[in-house]
């Protein structure tokens, strides 16, 4: 294995060049730091609560050691919530990075192009029509997001040129607004207690999450995250525009279809588990891109930035703003927006500024 370092990048070759690649040092360092931050917040999230646990007890309890009382609090009460927070952040961040790179538009997150809106209309419809109890909400959110993603893809096909990124955005806007207005209509039709339940879900929350929320999310993340990372090579060529990507040998149509399904799937499972925590998918890739100094959102960095954002917002909502009782979906905006704005203002080159 040979390594060479130049201009902040490490080039590695294994064997006689059969496996090789380039790692940007700054992006790698950022990923490590974000991972550490996410782990720290995760442990803190498990340790803090009505019964504060010392960190020395929490870490063994995570892997099944310690006294039964601590074990119960950690494994049954706090771990599911922290895990949902972590995983939701990861899938939203990754999903945003996929859509923003694929469409070459920093505003293209699942919240903006119809996927989240599809989940919203399905869940609110379920609540208003009376099938929204318990796990039904998860299933409906999942189905709504997937159907919306597929509808966006199918509608942006045709016209002989296939689904270009631009067309996906425009069709996504249309689908998103049709769903949103339907949600508004359903909310206006709903009985007061139904409207309260629906609005509670619409803000996105990590309260009262159990293992039945964690399992589908963890399974889907275990499949979709590696698939996304494997697709990243093609994602990077797609960033250069369709013509160049085709010239470099990327099967543009197939790749775009796979990416859309994967991105929608990530957002769908996240929304099913925690509700539409808006803004995470949009802002995490942009924060990661600016911190890493890369021309496009780094996938691993975006996922970890999402996790840090959601976990930090959850901690803040539970222990700093206790008397207000804000859902996590409100706090992510208060926490994430200033970070993005601060990064924007200290951009000293037009390249890193956008």
């Amino acid at each position: 294995m040979t390594l060479s370092v130049a201009a902040g990048r490490v080039t590695y070759r294994v064997g006689r060049g059969a496996v090789s690649g380039v790692v940007a040092l700054r992006a790698a360092l950022l990923a490590v730091l974000l991972a550490l931050a996410a782990f720290g917040l995760f442990v803190l999230s498990v340790a803090t609560g009505d019964l504060a646990l010392p960190l020395a007890d929490v870490v063994p309890a995570l892997v099944g050691g310690g006294d039964p009382a601590t074990l119960f609090v950690v494994q049954e009460l706090r771990l599911p919530r922290a895990l949902v927070g972590l995983l939701v952040g990861v899938v939203f961040g990754l999903s945003g990075a996929v859509f923003q790179t694929m469409t070459r538009n920093p505003l293209a997150a699942p919240d903006m192009i119809g996927i989240t809106a599809g989940a919203q209309v399905a869940v609110v419809g379920g609540i208003v029509l009376g099938w929204g109890a318990g796990r039904g909400t998860q299933a409906l959110g999942l189905a709504g997001a997937f159907v919306a993603g597929i509808v966006v893809y199918l509608l942006s096909l045709g016209g002989g040129r296939g689904a270009t990124g631009y067309r996906i955005i425009l069709v996504g806007i249309g689908v998103s607004w049709a769903c949103t207005s339907l949600t508004d209509y359903l909310l206006a039709k709903a009985l007061p207690y139904q409207a309260n339940q629906a609005i509670g879900w619409l803000f996105g929350s990590l309260a009262e999450r159990g293992w039945h929320h964690v399992r589908p999310l963890a399974l889907s993340a275990a499949v979709l995250v590696p698939v996304t990372v494997l697709l990243s090579r093609w994602l990077r060529t797609l960033q250069l525009g369709d013509t160049v990507a085709k010239g470099l040998g990327t099967p543009v149509g197939a790749v775009r279809f796979t990416l859309l399904i994967v991105g929608a799937g990530l957002a769908a499972f996240g929304t099913a588990a925690a509700g539409p925590i808006l803004f995470v998918a949009l802002v995490s890739p942009q924060i990661a891109q600016r911190l890493a100094g890369t021309p496009a959102p780094p996938l691993v960095g975006s996922a970890l930035a999402g996790a840090v954002l959601v976990l930090a917002a959850d901690l803040l909502s539970r222990y700093v703003l206790t008397d207000v009782g804000l859902p996590v979906g409100v706090v992510t905006g208060i926490l994430g927006a200033p970070v993005l704005l601060w990064l924007l203002t200290r951009a000293n080159r037009s390249g890193s500024g956008g």
Partner: protein
């Protein structure tokens, strides 16, 4: 995208003007229908009578037409034109098809202004809200513009768009936080945020009309500059445009238009997002045609939706915001699919 089959611009213009005149005629007809239709409908003959021969019209019809229907129709006309124009400007300034009039933080600032006025300052007079909404919108867009313009390179489209999204979500979160903890603010906010033309008096219209008219004039005046901007900042500069000045003027026009109309009608964002895309299918990317067309097409959409909202659930009403998005979206998707879209 260039389509070589098109005739040269000189022969195309008369057709464009004919189309513009046709749409304006549709708009005039919609205005009459909007005055005629409502909880108490009246035949068009009576409407014309009340409008042009008020001496002989019955007292009650005159009261309805003058007191309710004309202010509402005029508001739809002005607000529709403003919000559409603001959307077209925003898309031109940020060169982003996802840009809507709210992207500069205007809608979020207006909502925050209203909610803060109700919850923190206990304002309950309706005219009070309008000023707080305008103040919030102006402050938010100023913050967005300053933040987006810091650092080398000035207010590039991407920085502007991202700063706008950041401020929008930040204020949106604060608004939600206040709304979740104050019942009075929630009631007022829900009424406003649905987006409606109903229940406005002529006085409100007079208060916001000057803002809107100035905004429209400023917007139309920078159309040629937007064309240069579409070629990219460097090209625009090479063509002799003062890019920074164009952006500030454009942002000012968007703020005037969107702030004043949003303050009164609530966020009817969809019109501003979609109409410019629709119009681009007719006119192509030339802002000198795009802006005037947007000016007449947007109120057509808004008034048609408002009339429909008054008819479908009689004697009640459905909010215009809901109808516009629900009916407009499929139509928009169909158009996007049928024609090759002119990219920004």
């Amino acid at each position: 995208m260039s389509t070589p089959a098109r005739p040269p611009a000189g022969r195309r213009l008369p057709r464009q003007f004919a189309a513009l005149a046709g749409i304006a005629a549709v708009l005039a007809a919609l205005c009459l229908i909007s005055i005629a239709v409502g909880a108490r409908s009246m035949p068009l003959g009576h409407v014309l009578g009340a409008l042009f021969d008020p001496g002989r019209a019955p007292e009650d019809e005159l009261a309805i037409v003058r007191g309710l229907r004309i202010p509402r129709t005029a508001l739809g006309l002005l607000a529709g034109a403003s919000i559409g124009l603001a959307g077209a400007l925003m898309q031109g300034l940020t060169r982003n098809p996802l840009a809507d009039p709210g992207l500069l933080g205007v809608s979020a600032g207006a909502s925050f202004g209203i909610v803060a006025a109700v919850a923190l300052l206990h304002v309950s007079d309706f005219y009070g809200y309008v000023w707080f909404a305008i103040a919030g919108a102006v402050a938010a867009s100023a913050v967005v513009y300053v933040l987006g313009g810091l650092g080398q390179g000035g207010a590039t489209p991407v920085k502007l768009a991202l700063a706008g999204v950041g401020v929008t979500f930040f204020l949106g979160s604060l608004t939600s936080a206040i709304v979740l903890s104050s019942q009075a603010a929630l009631d007022r906010y829900r009424f406003w945020s649905a987006g409606s033309l109903a229940g406005q008096e002529a006085g409100t219209l007079w208060r916001v009309a000057p803002f809107l008219l100035v905004g429209i004039v400023v917007a139309l005046s920078i159309a040629p500059a937007l064309n240069s901007l579409a070629l990219g900042d460097r090209m625009a500069r090479a063509l002799g445009r003062r890019v920074g000045l164009v952006r500030v003027t454009g942002a000012l026009a968007v703020t005037l238009l969107a702030a004043a109309s949003t303050a009164v009608t609530g966020p009817i964002v969809f019109v501003g997002l979609v109409v410019p895309h629709l119009v681009r299918l007719i006119t192509g990317p030339d802002y000198r045609l795009l802006l005037p067309f947007t000016l007449v097409v947007s109120p057509v959409l808004l008034l048609a939706a408002d009339i429909l909202g008054r008819v479908v659930v009689r004697p009640g009403e459905m909010q215009v915001g809901v109808i516009v998005a629900f009916l407009g979206a499929p139509f928009f998707i169909a158009l996007v699919r049928r024609r090759s879209v002119a990219e920004l």
